[in-house]
């Protein structure tokens, strides 16, 4: 049984950093997963603009702090990206270039699936232009990328992560954060004030955001209980 396939809910970044295997984290336009100490992946969707790139840059801190036993093989799937903003990619390239040696030393190989057309061309060029030194393969077919990654669990783990990403796409950032927190809490009935405080907002704001997302606190607690039968402890 593949680890990612057993995980139904995203983890908060801190939980993911401390023990990433079998877990994934989600942002507004990305999902990052870790199947085993030597296999990582990411799925990106939507528009890669300045705002989403800034969000994604946060993940570099996660990557730096992750406890991995080996230099992982990495599969990045950008096939769901609909538009790539050139400005944002130039900026990301500058940031990655400053850390290229560090990143390259930590990665065994990286395959990237890109969308067809202009967006794919630009996305495929970011890591080469940043001067990464690890083996790199860009392609439009997932099969080509899986062949390059050459890991027995890559196809199954990516498939499970892609299903999770497709379910979560379109979910608001607020709900993603709330669900990640509820999934990680060890006690079954967290109070609304406690959750609001942990999310850095007032209880009134929490309820307002819940109304805006057409859900209730009780529903979200129930949902977290239903979909996390200790799968995080697996």
């Amino acid at each position: 049984m593949w680890m990612i396939a057993r995980t139904k809910s995203p983890s908060p970044p801190d939980v993911f950093v401390g023990s990433p295997v079998g877990r994934f984290v989600v942002g507004p336009t990305y999902l990052v997963w870790c199947e085993s100490p030597d296999l990582l992946g990411a799925i990106l969707w939507g528009e890669l603009d300045n705002a989403s790139m800034r969000e994604l840059m946060v993940m570099r801190h996660v990557f730096d702090r992750m406890r991995l036993a080996a230099r992982p093989r990495v599969l990045v799937d950008c096939s769901r990206v609909t538009k790539a903003c050139a400005d944002a990619l130039v900026g990301v390239t500058s940031f990655v270039r400053e850390r290229a040696a560090h990143v390259s030393n930590r990665i065994e190989r990286l395959a990237m699936v890109v969308p067809p057309g202009l967006a794919g061309l630009l996305i495929a060029g970011v890591l080469p232009a940043a001067g990464i030194g690890h083996p790199f393969h860009a392609c439009e077919e997932l099969g080509d990328a899986l062949a390059f990654v050459e890991h027995p669990y890559a196809a199954a783990a990516h498939g499970a992560a892609a299903r999770a990403a497709d379910e979560l796409r379109g979910t608001s950032t607020f709900l993603l954060r709330l669900r990640a927190l509820l999934a990680a809490l060890q006690f079954p009935r967290p109070s609304a004030p406690y959750v609001a405080r942990t999310l850095g907002m007032s209880t009134r704001t929490l309820y307002r955001e819940l109304r805006r997302s057409s859900t209730t606190f009780a529903d979200e607690v129930r949902r977290a209980r239903d979909v996390t039968p200790r799968d995080l402890a697996a």
């Binding site: 790539a84 900026g91 990301v92 060029g125 232009a129 393969h137």
Partner: protein, 284 residues
């Protein structure tokens, strides 16, 4: 390493002459130069505008050299002289081209030297997609790239590089200087830049004068360009950006930026905050 060690090379006039006996020869074409040191080491130097015409010609000649003439060579492709990329044209070219598949297994090692900025991203993406079967390696400087193809005679590479400069004219050196500056804007010196380009300070300055520019002008433009990117992309404060691009203080950056762009950094950031970014052509 053949002529690269002896620092002599013979320029030939036609693709047929070059392909008949490539070792020790080079050929200048529209927008690029192709060279061959030995049956195991060859390369290309590209400059100016990267058009589909020059890319097609270069890829065709390179493929014939690799598949029909040489014996699984190491290939070094130097794009540092490219100062203009038609993004949409290159994208269309990549869509239509998988020529390099023919070279699968025929290239021992493909090393590509990329220019800075969006041109480097576009070319890097094109090479990564077109030449995927060749497992390309990427570099931003010529020294490590030469080492990767098993050749460390930097001075000798300058012989063929000089032919490219002569063919392109003085603007090639301006492109190279700009590229070098974009990589290090803070501790930059004329001496350091000349050394990185494997030329003397006087020669570099003379060529820049011939190109109608100067080291100071190129440095100022490179700094404003870098500040432009950081203002649009990052949340860094103005003084942090100023320090990062080598302009020292926010007030100095403001003055330099306004002189070049007509607005202050703060005004520029406010103007672009809500703007929808379009994919630009680098040739503008």
């Amino acid at each position: 390493v053949g002529w690269l060690r002896s620092s002599s090379v013979i320029a030939v006039d036609t693709p047929e002459t070059f392909l008949a006996s490539p070792a020790g020869h080079c050929l200048v074409r529209e927008g690029y130069l192709i060279w061959c040191a030995t049956p195991r080491l060859a390369g290309l130097i590209q400059w100016g505008a990267l058009s589909t015409v020059s890319m097609h010609d270069m890829l065709g000649l390179g493929t014939r050299l690799v598949c029909d003439v040489l014996d699984t060579p190491n290939l070094l492709v130097d794009f540092r002289g490219v100062d203009c990329v038609q993004t949409v044209d290159v994208s269309g070219f990549v869509e239509r081209t998988r020529v390099a598949t023919a070279a699968r297994g025929r290239v021992a090692r493909l090393v590509v030297v990329l220019p800075a900025g969006l041109s480097g991203i576009v070319i890097g993406g094109a090479v990564a997609l077109i030449a995927a079967p060749c497992r390309p390696m990427f570099a931003s400087e010529i020294g490590p790239a030469l080492a990767s193809v098993g050749h460390e005679h930097l001075a000798a590479y300058d012989v063929v590089d000089q032919i490219a400069i002569d063919a392109r004219g003085p603007r090639l050196i301006a492109s190279r200087v700009r590229n070098e500056l974009e990589r290090n804007l803070v501790d930059v010196t004329v001496e350091g830049c000349a050394a990185a380009l494997h030329t003397s300070e006087r020669t570099m300055q003379r060529r820049l004068r011939e190109a109608g520019t100067s080291f100071g002008e190129q440095l100022r433009r490179a700094r404003v360009g870098a500040a432009w990117e950081l203002l649009r992309f990052s949340d860094l404060k103005i003084d942090a950006i100023a320090a990062r691009v080598g302009l020292g203080t926010a007030s100095r950056m403001s003055a330099v930026f306004r002189a070049e762009m007509g607005v202050t950094p703060t005004q520029f950031r406010a103007m672009t905050a809500q703007a929808v970014s379009e994919l630009p052509s680098q040739c503008g």
